[in-house]
């Protein structure tokens, strides 16, 4: 280790032990804890799903009764949507964005730490009540008036609503951080036109999050207000409207699924570039497609409400818009296949996951076209057809690329490679099991099976396909277990990876594996889209070695602008999260919690921002 590296490492390290654990603002450590928790929840919520599949394997089973089943699909859906899919994508961004930018940390390190603690609060907000038997049981979108005070007394619906409040604060904090990092912390020379596609994906995702998440925070707060202080937003008798709930929820809910999907497209673009040994084909069309999807996504939400009886003309317009969004998605699929076609592909597991993504996600996209048609959707919505569709796009479109990304960047994060052989085994089990499990559900929906039913009579004839679906789910679960075992065992037993085991094109591959606390010894100077492939890596010196400093560049042209002091380890994000968490939990029981809770929150935020020396 050179003296320079040593000094930087010391400046950017955390205090040892528990103190370091609680006060770290190192983006790599924060991302790691996010990923560990989201993957643990993926496993838990996946087991909940296996439980449901066992109950539905045969007609009339009594393994899980109505209450248990309703809690299961609520826990599964809410967990997967709010506690797994979005946070894991944010986590990958938190880990990768500074590394791909040649940077030492994100724009707002303490906000980063705060966002994790708030996310953890969300996890506890639903799992502790679950253990205490107050599990939400109305699904992952709890429509009013079923979720209102008249039909759901007790606190289950409040638990669900506040879990969302926690996770949305976390997501918004992470998104502002990601957005500002990408806009102001790019290395000199990395203009927007030279930015890796993954960073474009995260830029668009973070903006979408900023515009979409306030809607769900608002609607869940309105629901809690209806339940707690007798407001009448969703109370028809007092001038309220239950469809208002759906408009607000889906105004968030539709962009939400693209918030999950667009980072996955970023993974695919990165993987396909490295493993096909050529810059991804269609950079400009892909960027334009990502922007188009990001914008169009906000104009589709009514397609979740086609059965509510809104005027036909409006429905037709939303049908057209929902079909048109297929074009930017389809263009990207072409570009990724074109990269493989024209490149020199090496079929290691990350690229295999990309192929699985194409084959699987496109089925989901096509079933989405079917549900986009307002009249046809009246046969498909709220049935197992939609269950099939949503799992094809979420698992095929987001999880498969995530698994590929995981294998791809695992050596950079840990210094070791995962086992290729076991990777292939888990790949085939997961992909095969998934398709076996979910394809039959398209048919089940067409055969009349509605969603969210805990049992069905034998005369419906749904039994055989349900058995197939259950078998597929079990196989996929086995594959997932092998994948996780591979990840854990490879930490010790994997082949040692150097800085650049795959021959990648982007800046993260220019530093050690795992990276030192400060990520990079120097500031890279970027000349094109594939800095590591063009050879001769010019660098800039000048940032301080003995205090934490980040280089700010201009938003579009990435010209060096000024040096910003960056905060080191701090306990304030944790204390603030505890104060905010207490306020949120308290406000389920009394509105005074908002007033009383504001005082500790104010104190914590004051402590956070109170300047020490010259820090911001």
């Amino acid at each position: 280790m050179s003296p320079r590296t040593e000094r930087l490492a010391r400046t950017w390290s955390d205090p040892p032990g528990l103190r370091g654990f609680l006060t770290t603002v190192d983006h790599k450590r924060i991302a790691a804890r996010y990923i560990v928790v989201t993957m643990a929840l993926l496993a838990l919520d996946g087991l909940v799903a296996v439980d449901m599949r066992l109950q539905l394997a045969f007609p009339g089973l009594q393994r899980l009764h109505a209450q248990g089943f309703n809690e299961a699909f609520s826990l599964h859906g809410s967990g997967m949507m709010f506690l797994v899919s979005v946070p894991v994508m944010e986590a990958m961004a938190i880990w990768l964005v500074p590394l791909m930018l040649g940077q030492r940390n994100m724009a707002f390190p303490r906000l980063n730490a705060f966002s994790f603690w708030m996310y953890l609060g969300g996890v506890l907000m639903i799992w502790v009540p679950h253990i205490a038997n107050v599990t939400p049981d109305l699904g992952w979108f709890e429509y009013a008036p079923l979720s209102g005070p008249a039909y759901s007394p007790g606190h289950r619906a409040d638990v669900w609503a506040q879990m969302i409040t926690f996770t949305e604060v976390a997501a918004l904090a992470a998104s502002v951080n990601t957005f500002v990092t990408i806009m102001r912390l790019r290395p000199p020379g990395m203009t927007l036109a030279r930015m890796p596609l993954f960073l474009w994906a995260m830029l668009i995702t973070s903006l979408m999050t900023i515009f979409a998440l306030p809607a769900v925070m608002l609607v869940t707060s309105m629901l809690i207000a209806d339940r707690l202080v007798a407001t009448h937003f969703f109370d028809v008798a007092a001038g309220g409207d239950v469809i208002l709930f759906q408009h607000l929820f889906w105004f968030f809910g539709h962009p939400e699924v693209y918030i999950i999907f667009i980072p996955a497209l970023g993974f695919v673009a990165a993987i396909v570039e490295t493993f096909c040994r050529r810059p991804t084909f269609g950079y400009v069309p892909i960027v334009l497609s990502l922007v188009a999807i990001g914008v169009l996504a906000f104009g589709l939400w009514v397609h979740h409400m086609f059965a509510t009886g809104l005027p036909r003309l409006g429905n037709s317009l939303y049908t057209a818009a929902s079909l048109v969004i297929a074009i930017p998605a389809g263009l990207q699929i072409f570009c990724y296949i074109a990269t493989i076609w024209s490149g020199r592909p090496r079929f290691r597991t990350p690229l295999m996951w990309v192929v699985a993504f194409i084959v699987t996600f496109v089925i989901g996209g096509l079933s989405g076209l079917m549900t986009a048609s307002a009249p046809l959707d009246l046969q498909l919505t709220d049935t197992y057809f939609v269950v099939a569709h949503l799992h094809y796009v979420l698992i095929g479109g987001a999880l498969f690329p995530l698994f590929g990304a995981f294998v791809y960047w695992y050596p950079k994060a840990t210094g070791r490679l995962m086992s290729e052989a076991w990777g292939k085994v888990s790949f085939w089990l997961i992909v095969g099991g998934f398709n076996l499990g979910f394809f039959p559900m398209h048919l089940l929906g067409l055969m009349g099976m509605p969603r969210r039913i805990y049992t069905y009579p034998p005369e419906t004839g749904w039994g055989p396909l349900n058995i197939v679906a259950t078998a597929g789910a079990a196989i996929a679960a086995l594959g997932a277990a092998i994948f996780v075992a591979n990840a854990l065992l490879s930490l010790r037993r994997g082949a040692v990876a150097g800085a650049d085991p795959w021959g990648g094109s982007t800046l993260e591959w220019s530093t050690a594996s795992p990276p030192p606390p400060h990520n990079f010894d120097y500031t890279p100077l970027v000349k094109d889209r594939t800095p590591l492939w063009t050879g001769g890596q010019p660098q800039l010196d000048g940032l301080a070695l003995d205090r934490r400093e980040l280089l700010l560049t201009t938003p579009v042209e990435a010209l060096p602008d000024y040096r910003q002091r960056s905060p080191g380890p701090s306990v304030w994000p944790l204390l603030t999260a505890l104060a905010v968490g207490a306020m949120f939990v308290g406000s389920i029981f009394t509105p005074w919690a908002l007033v009383l809770g504001a005082l500790p929150v104010g104190a914590a935020v004051t402590g956070w921002f109170w300047p020490k020396r010259r820090e911001s």
């Binding site: 109305l138 036909r312 037709s316 490149g343 709220d382 049935t383 009349g448 509605p450």
Partner: protein
Amino acid sequence: MRRRIAIGLALGLGGCAGRQSALDPASDQAVALHGLLGLMLAVCGIAYLLVLLFLGWALWRHRRRLDHAVELEPHDRVLQLGLGAWAGLMALGLVVLIGGSFLVDRTLARHDEAAADIRVTGHQWWWRLEYRDPAGGWIETANELHLPANRPTRIEIRSADVIHSFWIPNLSGKIDMIPGRTNHLTVTPRRLGWVRGQCAEFCGLQHARMALEVKVDTPEDFAAWLAGQARPAAAPSSPGAARGLSLIASGTCASCHRIRGAVGGGRAGPDLTHLASRRSLAAGTLPMSRGALGGWITQPQALKPGAEMPASGLAPDEALAIVSYLEGLR
């Protein structure tokens, strides 16, 4: 490709024929939607095939490649043309789908202005049905829908509590039952016989047990059935049944149930005037039989936990008397 063959087999093997299936359309509306489904499958199938062919070609092309050097300036002209062609093809496909969807929507909208012949109100976890009486007024029943064939019937859809969804896959797409809102549906059945509907919007604990039996009759049979439903309840045919009637009228049953011509009764629960003419009990949960009736009135919570009907606390002989009365309500 294998998946398409699999669907074909499944459909061919009778997976489609069914009493609760969108793949076995029995009305004008369901036939139109089935046609649209076919159009979608065709266009989407072609699109998927093209994607798989391109991908397959891309993978096949490199199966023996050994050289993995980086290519920094690839010649992408052909691919750019391909991208443009693909964009055009997708646009074309979408125009076809948008057009097809719009045309089917116009077909379904044909009777949007008609007056309603039937009113259905969703409850947690049963259906209140009211048929327009040719002689004026409305005839109330529950949980079993009868429709005349070969005529459009306009149905008015409401909810008394939470959001439900009214869905009879063989006859029509679904429409939500929303408190504070009145929705409508038109059905023109073409095939006689029984089909089954089910609530399709999660509405609470027993959402899974809110089914609807549907009978399509010839217009003559329908009119005869409706006339029968319009008549007041049959008088008790035995002393046991008479005792049953008095138990109903004087006990808790009357607080929620009405039997026209016999028990004034409340309207919180289903109308029982012609209970025994129905095929099933508790919204499709149980078949109509002596045993089911007895079990339901004594222990509804055991059969459908959470249902609004409380345990009656009846002694066995009282329950028997009530069942003998109810059995006669055809």
